[in-house]
Structures are given as structure tokens and as C-alpha cells.
């Protein structure tokens, strides 16, 4: 189900149309622009591209991970922040305890059925834009334990990158984080989440 694109994507397409043809629904004819149309083209196209790329570059290089370790993968997450596999050289060492201040949740460990609503609540309390990495086999799939007590994280929250391993080496976690960084730099508009209706899920306490 393709949701109609809005926002910056529409402006990009509009800018491209302006360059190609006279009106926004026009045919595919090259045209030269002048005057007001040229200004409008510059506004739509150039500003759209450069500023958003800059913002995406800044966002991707300054993830604030949520300090959230559940089980064994949290130990390898510590090592990723440790002196050898230093996550600070990429700029991600600011682990925040409060979900309101974090934008990357690294689910490190197994999510049990008692914990799943709490993880979902934490994810809802984070503010957009936010990303999620599922670290390890237990939260990506069921991992070693295929039983009544665990929930794979895909069942209740949208995950951007899955890092396999049991537990994944700190280098593997870095690889996942860097992949996410590249994802955010290239295409920051979270299109896949809009398609699956997974945006706009912030928690609102009624009456508060």
C-alpha cells in the first residue's frame, strides 16, 4: 500500500517537473526557465537537496543511543563503547538514559513477553526521527530460544537494522550502526515506515 508522498519528496518531484516541463503535470519536454520560474526552481530543488542532505548528514553522525541493555548482548554493547572498539570515534558515545533525549534504540538482548510492552512504550516515548537496531539473534528472530517466553522485536516495533550474532562481536554491532548511518545519510525520509503505518506513534498521556 503506497501512501502518497508528502513533504520534501513532493517538492523534489515538483522541482524536477519544473525543470522538465512548464506546469507540474506537464509533458516531458525540456524547457528553459527564467524569471519567477527560475527562482521557484532554485527554491524547490537546490534548497531541498542541500539543506536536507546537510541535516541528514548531521543526524546520521550524531546518534544518541538509548542506554538499553537487556541481556548478554549488552555486554558486547559495553565492549563496543569500550576502549578497543571505540564507538566514540564515530560520535555515538553519548548514551542517554532518558528516551526523550535519545534517537537510537539498540535492543541488546532477548525481549520477553513481560518486557515487550515496556520496550514499546520506550520506543513511543522517543521523539521523531528515531531509529531502532535489533542487536543479536534473540530480538531479531527468536535466537537460540524458540519458546513461549520470547517475542521477536519485529512483532511490536519497526526495526531498521538487524544485527545477527549471538552475541554479535562489537565489530558486528559497529557494522550495523554504520549501515544505519549510511541509510540515514542517503534516504532520511523513513519511507518504509510510512508504508507500514509505523510513524506517528508517540505516547500521549490523556489529560496530561
Amino acid at each position: 500500500m503506497r501512501v502518497a508522498p508528502d513533504g520534501l519528496r513532493v517538492r523534489e518531484l515538483n522541482a524536477r517537473q519544473l525543470l522538465r516541463g512548464g506546469d507540474l503535470e506537464g509533458a516531458n519536454q525540456p524547457a528553459h526557465l527564467e524569471g519567477a520560474e527560475l527562482e521557484r526552481y532554485v527554491q524547490e530543488r537546490v534548497a531541498t537537496t542541500t539543506l536536507d542532505t546537510a541535516v541528514a548528514w548531521a543526524r546520521s553522525n550524531s546518534f544518541f543511543p538509548l542506554s538499553f541493555g537487556l541481556a548478554c548482548c549488552a555486554m558486547e554493547q559495553f565492549h563496543a563503547a569500550g576502549p578497543r572498539m571505540d564507538i566514540a570515534r564515530f560520535g555515538f558515545e553519548a548514551f542517554r538514559a532518558s528516551p526523550r533525549q535519545a534517537d537510537l534504540i539498540i535492543l541488546a538482548g532477548r525481549v520477553s513477553i513481560k518486557m515487550a510492552p515496556i520496550v514499546r512504550r520506550l520506543y513511543d516515548q522517543m521523539l521523531e526521527p528515531k531509529w531502532a537496531i535489533s542487536m543479536g539473534a534473540c530480538c531479531s528472530s527468536m535466537g537460540v530460544f524458540n519458546n513461549y517466553a520470547l517475542v521477536p522485536a519485529d512483532k511490536f516495533m519497526p526495526i531498521d537494522v538487524h544485527v545477527p550474532g549471538c552475541p554479535p562481536r562489537p565489530e558486528a554491532l559497529m557494522h550495523g550502526v554504520l549501515k544505519l548511518r549510511k541509510m540515514v545519510q542517503d534516504d532520511p525520509d523513513l519511507g518504509w515506515r510510512e508504508r507500514y503505518d509505523a510513524v506517528g506513534t508517540e505516547e500521549i498521556i490523556p489529560g496530561a
Partner: protein, 171 residues
């Protein structure tokens, strides 16, 4: 461990409560009658077994009585271990809790969380437990997971060559 003769002597001393004594791989086990658990533990404590290492449950499905509760006792002075076992059927899974302080004996505070775990996983109800509720599963969970007839659960593993429902299966 008390050796085989020591175990028999303890069994004789405790009298009618003891249904059976098992000496297996140098480990001593007393199988006792469920209503007398507190008095047996108190007598063993007098003998020196004053530390309770572990309290856990077993499901002996399909043999009846099905649910077993096992108490591991340790005598630190003589480095001696003894196991006390009792079995209750699923139709009446009630055992007297050994946690609280009674007027006669001091109780075993270490059994608090461990009895809650046996209740959660097996459904054995401990009478007079100060706070008997589920400890590992969510509080409104139905069923007792560690019983042998409780399904393992989990997600079905989809092998794409077998399953025709997923989009990437070869077909």
C-alpha cells in the same frame, strides 16, 4: 553426604513422615509425606542441616503424583548435603510453605522467592506463604509453563522451500 547407613538412620528417626530413602550416586534423598514437610525440615535443622541451598519443582508426568517439590539442605559444619523430596498430585497441589516464621521454628526465609517460582512454573500452591504470586511470568498469565504438558510455544520456523505462503518461496 550421609552415607547409605547414615541415611537409613535418619529415615528411621523421622519415622512415619519418610516414605522412601534413595541413595543414588553418593547423594542422599528422603521422600516424605507432604503434610509433614515443616516438621521434617525442623528436625533436620536440629541435626545440623541449617542452610537451604535450593527449592525447586519437578514435573513427573506421566507418573502420579505428578508435581514434586525438592528441598536441598546443606550442613556447613560437616559439609553434608541431603535432599528432601515430596510429591503432590495435580488435583490437589497444596503444600505447606516453609517460608514464614512460626512460633515453634524459625522458618526458612530463603524459600520466599523460590516457592513463588515453583508456584509460577508448576502451579503448586503454598499455604501460608506471605506473598504468593507469579514471579517470572506476567501476573495475569494463564497456565504453568514448566509442566510437561504445557506446549513449548515459539514462532514457527519458515523454511522457504517448504512454505508456499511466503513471497520468496521458490515456486
Amino acid at each position: 553426604m550421609p552415607d547409605a547407613t547414615g541415611l537409613e538412620l535418619i529415615g528411621q528417626e523421622l519415622g512415619d513422615s519418610v516414605l522412601d530413602t534413595i541413595f543414588f550416586r553418593d547423594r542422599a534423598t528422603l521422600v516424605i509425606d507432604p503434610p509433614s514437610i515443616r516438621s521434617v525440615l525442623a528436625r533436620l535443622r536440629e541435626k545440623g542441616y541449617s542452610f537451604m541451598s535450593s527449592l525447586h519443582g519437578v514435573d513427573y508426568y506421566p507418573e502420579e503424583p505428578r508435581l514434586g517439590v525438592i528441598y536441598e539442605l546443606l550442613d556447613m559444619r560437616r559439609v553434608d548435603r541431603i535432599t528432601v523430596k515430596l510429591r503432590v498430585p495435580t488435583s490437589a497441589p497444596e503444600v505447606q510453605s516453609v517460608t514464614p516464621d512460626a512460633s515453634q521454628d524459625a522458618g526458612w526465609p530463603t524459600a520466599n522467592h523460590q516457592e513463588r517460582e515453583v508456584y509460577d512454573m508448576f502451579g503448586v500452591v503454598f499455604r501460608d506463604h506471605p506473598d504468593l504470586r507469579r514471579i517470572l511470568m506476567p501476573e495475569d498469565y494463564e497456565g504453568h509453563p514448566q509442566r510437561r504438558d504445557f506446549p513449548l510455544g515459539g514462532e514457527p520456523v519458515i523454511f522457504t522451500c517448504n512454505d508456499t505462503g511466503t513471497p520468496r518461496s521458490s515456486e
